[in-house]
Symmetry: C2
Subunit: 510 residues, 2 copies
Amino acid sequence: MSSSPSKVLIAGEWRASKASDFIQAENPATGEPLPQKYPVSTRDEVVEAVHAGAEAAETLRDVDPKKMAQFLEACAAGIEQRATELVDIANAETGLPKSPRLKDVELPRTTDQLRQAARVARDGSWERPVRDDARKIYSIHAPLGGPVVVMGPNNFPFAYNSAAGGDFAAAIVARNPVIAKANPGHPGTTQILAEIALEAARACGLPLSTVQLIYHTPPDAGFALVSHSLVGATAFTGSREAGLKLKAAADAAGKPIFLEMSSINPVVILEGALLERCDTIADEFFGSCTAAAGQMCTNPGLILLQEGESGRRFLEASKKKFAAAPAGVLLGRGVRERLTQSVQRLRQSGAQLVCGGEPLPGPSVRYENTLLSVSGASFLTHSQELQTEAFGPASLLVTCASVGEIAAVIKSISGQLTGSIYSRTDGADDAAYGAIEPLLRTRVGRLLNDKMPTGVAVSPAMNHGGPYPATGHPGYTAVGLPAAVQRFTALHCYDNIPPRRLPTALKASK
Amino acid sequence: MSSSPSKVLIAGEWRASKASDFIQAENPATGEPLPQKYPVSTRDEVVEAVHAGAEAAETLRDVDPKKMAQFLEACAAGIEQRATELVDIANAETGLPKSPRLKDVELPRTTDQLRQAARVARDGSWERPVRDDARKIYSIHAPLGGPVVVMGPNNFPFAYNSAAGGDFAAAIVARNPVIAKANPGHPGTTQILAEIALEAARACGLPLSTVQLIYHTPPDAGFALVSHSLVGATAFTGSREAGLKLKAAADAAGKPIFLEMSSINPVVILEGALLERCDTIADEFFGSCTAAAGQMCTNPGLILLQEGESGRRFLEASKKKFAAAPAGVLLGRGVRERLTQSVQRLRQSGAQLVCGGEPLPGPSVRYENTLLSVSGASFLTHSQELQTEAFGPASLLVTCASVGEIAAVIKSISGQLTGSIYSRTDGADDAAYGAIEPLLRTRVGRLLNDKMPTGVAVSPAMNHGGPYPATGHPGYTAVGLPAAVQRFTALHCYDNIPPRRLPTALKASK
């Protein structure tokens, strides 16, 4: 690798950054820093990107939607062409396995998302045109008029990448330029994806500032970015701590910001289900909680059970699986530090360790598969602290005295991405289900039955969202098209405008 | 009238408030205070309403949508039954003329809105169900799970009333209970509308806390209300000053708030249009700017012209009309004080008085019809100050040296509800139109041609919204169904849920 730092992509060119600070990623499988340096862009540099993005927005507003579709398809094709290189660097930067995870699951998912987005760009279903011919009033959803800032998470280097993932694709469908801020955990992966996007923009005749890339910023530059008057909106996926700070900056400036911040994804396992199929459910739980070393937004972090024999058997079965399985490699030292702190906080708040609970020695960044438990009554006395997200292969089992106590625990839980209920096939748990479902339903974006929450299908019916503080607004999803596009649109009404001056989509839909 | 203060409507009963402070409305046509006293609810009282609303929300979630439709229709019928009483008290509280305004225009508009909303409650078009049968994933828009706080404005005592207007109806369509906070300018009107709503709820078998009413709060209780964890969302229509404070409180708590705060509604009149029909346009401008004494959210408060003979003729023609017409009665002393301050601020920032500019003496609350003017160059040097909204019969004419300067002025303008362009019928202004339209389009919610912005048609294609700071979010409208309902919904996804447990609308849509 080169010894000169990577260049930022601003206004259509790869430029040497004016940064004086740099970041390096590390390989969590070896614990070694990776050699390449990436600039920490200053506030001035960020503002340059905003101005270039604002110019691109003016052009993109009137671009033929087919071109946006071609651009998204060209991004997908470019990713496939550079798949080996992408899988190699993403593996080095994140420790996620090359196969099946990166090569066979996440990369095809990403190109599929881009191609689904291309279809939505072509069919225009996100525009929702409404005609009132009698009154000569028309309305349609339109681009925001400024660039969309995308800040991707650490845990999906392709599928949620700022320069290729779901938020990127949704913003592009609505003809908004994107300012990608790389996740500092995988800057090299993001650089390649931005290279692909720039070439795709060039090939499709789009403005070269349709996609820009910065790697990292000091906090003040990040706040300046999301609150800039020329920015259209921001999409952020990451920690609650960072998300809330960005939200405060954007809110104060009246700028839309869509955040996916945290979730412990409660799973209620009713007694009948355990009596029926304890081992199967323990298997599903173990598989879901340790997939990708537990580093999923929809990881089942809170299990609610009724106390008694069946609950004890489930805890024992789960413990055996968690303790026996090798610990996966985490995304980085930062993830392990936060996990260590979270488990400590849970223990200080009354949770007992069932197994695991310690970082693992050795060069690779790992942490033991971890189970904790607490009684329902204790949970209720420290409800806030015991909702601490332990991002990693860890989960807290809450043993409740009754269905009523399960309900009380759910009532104490804040907004989540998902909530699951396992119940007995023959309907024996239906009364308990009926008592719990209404409480869980309003607290989560996606409700599941007899299924663990990991695995966010790229389906038009998906909701990858939920009430605050899981996200910033309960009406939006980050996954699922065309719904995910709505975040990046403005509603435009045309009143008494002659047909020749109406946008094409309003003319054509007559 | 009774000498005991009015009661608040909390948890289904009209209760004596625990307030120690009271407000009285005044009759702006006579300048006299009206005798009835209305309580200023404390924080504790507000929180009681929130808890009762949260309980009602649990019931309403599963109510047959037909009942919501019947409720909305019963509200409409109740308003018609008490029309004379409503028109009398609204006239006394607001000074708005009984006829045609209150009786023949606003009251029928309000009942029409309620009946349109009833149709949307029946047809379920706001729910937008999406089915993915192959993956067994379904999604649908659902109630928020908590009460919606509605804070209505001073200028439409019926059509935007917290207990009967558009936001109320939209929240109810999505099966959310409403906590109405009356506008302190017309508490008596709001009390009657809440009485009608309570009787309608009783008649339709809805929870009696479906509608609650408080009249006023101290600021801290208002902030507690919009940020309460059990509240679903807030809809506010009013001043930017009050709106931004409520927004900060709601944002910090992660609670959705939809605001309609301010707008100066720029109208560009191109030279060709003036050469063609100067007097007609001056008539339209005068009519729009002085309708309801200028107290409309969409009042044309900023007129952009090109300097020269045609611009001078327009200014003279407008001045004649404004100066000759009698000044209308304002909604109250507070409106006149703010108008006086706004005109002062515009003059201090370089605007010249063309006519009017003074409060009128006498018992009724009036202010002269007022025109101001400023050059485009001066506007650009004090752009922020010269965008001060002068809520009332007042407008600022900006005389620009060129089409380019008109474009520069528009680029300096913040988000607005509406923007209009007048151009010559034969297309002679089309080049200028093409230069200006893209800039105006992204800064407004509703774009008009050859039409003044007042008159917000209740059409499914309407957008009564716009970019910040006109509202808090560019994607939503406060008028126009079903779109206005979206604000008060959560997206609910069902993943692997057996059909018997799906909501009716998802079962039925198969």
